[in-house]
Every structure is written in C-alpha cells, then in structure tokens.
C-alpha cells in the first residue's frame, strides 16, 4: 500500500462547461455518398449568416466565449463575397478524387525522346511549375482572410491548394524523369499570372485565377493528351485537367452566386472581367508576349517535333478557338454573358479571328 498521505479533495470539480452547449441533440445521418458536409448542415450548424462579425475563430454553431481574442483579421465577412451553391459538393469531390503523382502515373512508360521534344516538354513543365506556385499561394492567402463561418468555401480552397501542390510536384517529376531537367523560367509570374496576386477583392482574384487563368490552363492540360508521347504524360495531363476543371467550377459557381445575391456589384465585376480579358489577349494572342516560348513548345509537341512546327501551330489555333468559346460560355453561365453581345468584350472578335 502507498505511504503517500491521503488528502481530502479541496475543490469540487467545476463542470459548468457542460451546460455551455450549442444546439444539442443533433443526429447527422450518412446519405448515399457517406456523411458529407451537406449532411451536417443541420439546424443552427447549417445557418449561413449573410454578414458575420465572428472574429474569434468560433466554429459555426458553437457557443460564443466573451473573453475570446479577436484572432483573425477576417476581411471576407459577407456571404456573397466568397460563397457558391455547390461548395460542399465540390469539397467532397476534391477529397474523393485525389490521386498520387508517385503511384498513379505509369512512369515506367517513359522512354528517351528526341531532344527537341524533350526540351519542349521540359519547358512546359518549368512553366507549369511557376504557374502552380501562384495557383497554390494565392488561394492560400484568401483562406486565412475568410471568416470561419464560411468554412465550406474555405475547405474547397484548401483542397485546391493540395491539388496545386500535386500539380507542382508531378511536373517537376516529369522534368526530372527522362534525361532532361528544368529549363529557364518563363517569367510568367511577373506578368498576368503574377497579377492574380495583386487582387484586393476575393471575386477579383477568383475571376482572374479560376475563370480566366485556370480556364486557360485547363485547355492546356487537356491538350497534354495530344502532346503526350507516352501513357505517363497522357495520364499526368488528364488527371491534372480533372482537378483544374474543379477549380474552374469554383470560380463559375461563385461568380454566379455573387451575381444573384449582390447584383449591385455587377458593374465592378464587369471591370474585373475587362482586365482579365485584356490579359488573356496579351498572354495568349500576342506572339511577342512573354508566353511566346510556351506557345512554341506547345506547337512543337502537338506537331511532333520542330520539323512539324507549322502543323502543330495550326492545331494550337484550333484549340485556342475552343478555349475562347469555353471562356465566353463560362462567363455566360455565371450570369455575365451580355458583355459578349453588347460590344463590351473583345473576345467575340478574337474568337472570329482565331483561325
């Protein structure tokens, strides 16, 4: 038996915290897709404030604690500034469709390639590495600026950051897998792509990143299947394209929500679209732009070598036409299609001229 003195208990256990509960008795049930975020949007836990003054990081639905510090300088506190109708769905989709660049790409199918093709592929991999850094860093900055009351939308962005990390690593792996390496950086991050990070408003950022930037990159990833010289490259591009289409969906659905819930912001949004479109033109149509090297690499890969550059360039123009059309249709889907009919946007002209 212990020789330690037995002490009388000096204090009653204070369990008053047990009475400080949020809405109680909740029994969330899995749906046919499991227990998704949509299934726990129940009662107060599912109530989204139009505007929130939650600056303490209080989880939505938890009881406030008056002495809690203001831990987050949340700039995004209006629902319409960040929200989208299908946030829970997109988040679950992102989680359930993750893949591994280590094991889901048949790296063994890569074989030595002619120098011009390897160099063009490595140039693209270098370019995508730069681009993906921006695509990861920028949403990441906005996550911390967004009120935790809108966590579903934040979660989609967090999943995007994971996707972009994988894109960065898969292109780096490809560059280092076949006797080549990285090439000289494109400098794209100093131009339009870098300008995404200068946005002062979330929707301004999302318009540039998700709709015009990632919309354009989605087409490039899709082209990867035509450019790919082996199953590893084809699969790498195809899986990246799926992720990218999800990121584009965030932008389109967010813009649609904003258009419906804050129509007074329409004129301002049109200006963001003006800017994004001017940049698309500079970045993709101007052969003297900083992206010229990237375009040449695409044409070499599409044609199947330097000797077939013209053929590749022709294919590139056809695909770019599709890219412009899809951009217009996405903006239309978001509720801003008028700009292509009333002369405000120059994209219809570019589309007509892109042959």
């Amino acid at each position: 038996m212990s020789e330690a003195p037995v002490r009388e208990q000096e204090h009653e256990l204070d369990t008053s915290w047990m009475d400080q509960m949020g809405e109680w008795g909740i029994k969330a049930k899995p749906g046919k897709r499991g227990l998704t975020l949509a299934e726990i949007q129940i009662g107060e836990y599912g109530e989204l404030p139009e505007t929130t003054d939650n600056m303490t990081g209080r989880p939505r639905g938890a009881t406030p604690r008056p002495e809690a510090y203001r831990v987050g300088a949340y700039g995004v506190r209006n629902l319409s500034e960040i929200w989208l109708e299908n946030a829970t769905f997109l988040y679950e989709e992102a989680l359930q469709r993750q893949w591994s660049s280590a094991t889901d790409i048949p790296w063994h199918t890569i074989e030595p390639l002619p120098d011009d093709i390897e160099e063009a592929e490595c140039l693209l991999c270098t370019f995508f590495n730069e681009v993906e850094f921006v695509a990861g860093d920028v949403p990441a900055r906005w996550i911390a600026k967004t009120s935790p009351d809108f966590f579903e939308a934040r979660h989609v962005l967090i999943a995007q950051v994971m996707d972009e990390a994988r894109h960065m690593d898969v292109f780096r792996k490809r560059a280092l897998a076949n006797g080549g390496g990285l090439m000289r950086m494109s400098g794209a991050t100093s131009g339009f792509i870098g300008s995404i990070d200068l946005a002062r408003d979330f929707t301004e950022m999302s318009t540039r990143l998700h709709i015009s930037g990632e919309g354009a990159v989605l087409t490039m990833f899709r082209m990867g299947e035509l450019m790919g010289q082996n199953d590893a490259e084809k699969r790498m591009y195809r899986l990246c394209a799926q992720d990218e289409a999800r990121h584009v969906a965030f932008g389109v659905m967010h813009l649609r929500f904003l258009c419906e819930h804050a129509p007074e912001r329409r004129p301002e949004i049109e200006c963001y679209l003006d800017e994004a479109e001017a940049q698309i033109m500079a970045g993709l149509q101007n052969p003297a732009g900083t992206q010229a090297e990237t375009s040449e690499a695409l044409a070499i890969l599409l044609g199947g070598g330097k000797a077939h550059y013209d053929e590749g360039h022709k294919m590139l123009l056809v695909i770019r036409r599709r890219q412009l059309k899809e951009y217009m249709k996405r903006v239309q889907s978001a509720g801003f299609g008028e700009r292509f009919e009333n002369g405000r946007s120059s994209i219809p002209e570019q589309y007509a001229a892109a042959y």
Binding site: R33, R97, Q98, D104, A241, Q242, V248, V318, S333
Partner: protein
C-alpha cells in the same frame, strides 16, 4: 457477343466497370453525374453515383434533352466505331482515341450541355477519367459491329 451500339453492349461494359475496383481510384474516384451518349440516332442515358455506374440504358431523344442531363457526348457513328475498335485492339484507348483527344480534334466539342450551360459541360472534364475507364472496360466485352 454484343453489338455496338446496343443497350446490351453498354450493360456488359457496365458490369465490367463496376466489378473492377482498380478502376475506382487514382483520379477515377467517386463521380456524380447523369450524362448521355448519342451514336447516330441511338441514345443512351448513363448515371454515375459514387464508385458505380448506377444505370445505363436506351433513352429517347426527349429524355436526353431533359434538365437532368448534365452533358451529352455525341459523335458520328464512324468516330464511335473507330474508338471502340481501337479499345478492342489495345485493351484501352490508344494514341489519339481517348474521348478527350477525339474531342480536341473536332471544331466543336463532342460533349455539350442540353441547357447550353458550360458549367455542366465542364463535368465532362471533371469526370473524364471515369468515362475513359468506362469505355476502356469495353475491351473485355466481346464486340461486333453493324
């Protein structure tokens, strides 16, 4: 032996696709969409739910055009045939015979939303691997053509 295109052929493909768990990971994970295929005048409706192809069956043109359909993949019968033949020959779509590659070689997309909503047409890109896996599974279905 099933004839392409026919409901019986698609149902055999569905069985192969659903029973091979290796097709439901690595970028071909859970998929939620209702889509359709148009091969000439023949229409088929396909529903993916989670890791399964829940339904594939003949449908009317009017049904395809309903708001339930996210997107329709429509190609000339000879394009469909070339793709299926290529899959039969190689065990999976080879070279430029994947859905995505075929799509990029056309002036207009082979996939479109009956409501002309790009956000729904984009589901063809978001779930592309599942649709590719589905058709690649047809390499294990003994196939005849008209």
């Amino acid at each position: 032996m099933a004839r392409f295109p026919s409901e019986a052929w698609f149902k055999e493909v569905q069985e192969v696709y659903n029973s091979d768990s290796s097709l439901h990971t690595g970028g071909g994970g859970a998929c939620e969409t209702t889509a359709a295929f148009k091969v000439g005048d023949e229409c088929y409706r396909i529903v993916f739910e989670g890791h399964q192809c829940l339904e594939i069956r003949s449908a009317s043109e009017a049904e395809l055009a309903s708001p339930e359909t996210d997107f329709i993949i429509e190609m000339a019968p000879e394009l469909w045939k070339a793709m299926v033949e290529n899959i039969q020959e190689h065990g999976a779509a080879h070279d430029d015979q994947t859905l995505n590659s075929i799509d990029l070689r056309q002036d207009d997309s082979i996939a479109y939303s009956p409501e002309d909503d790009q956000a729904r047409q984009d589901l063809f890109y978001r779930f592309n691997q599942n649709f590719q896996d589905f058709f690649d599974a047809s390499s294990r279905v003994e196939t005849t053509f008209d």
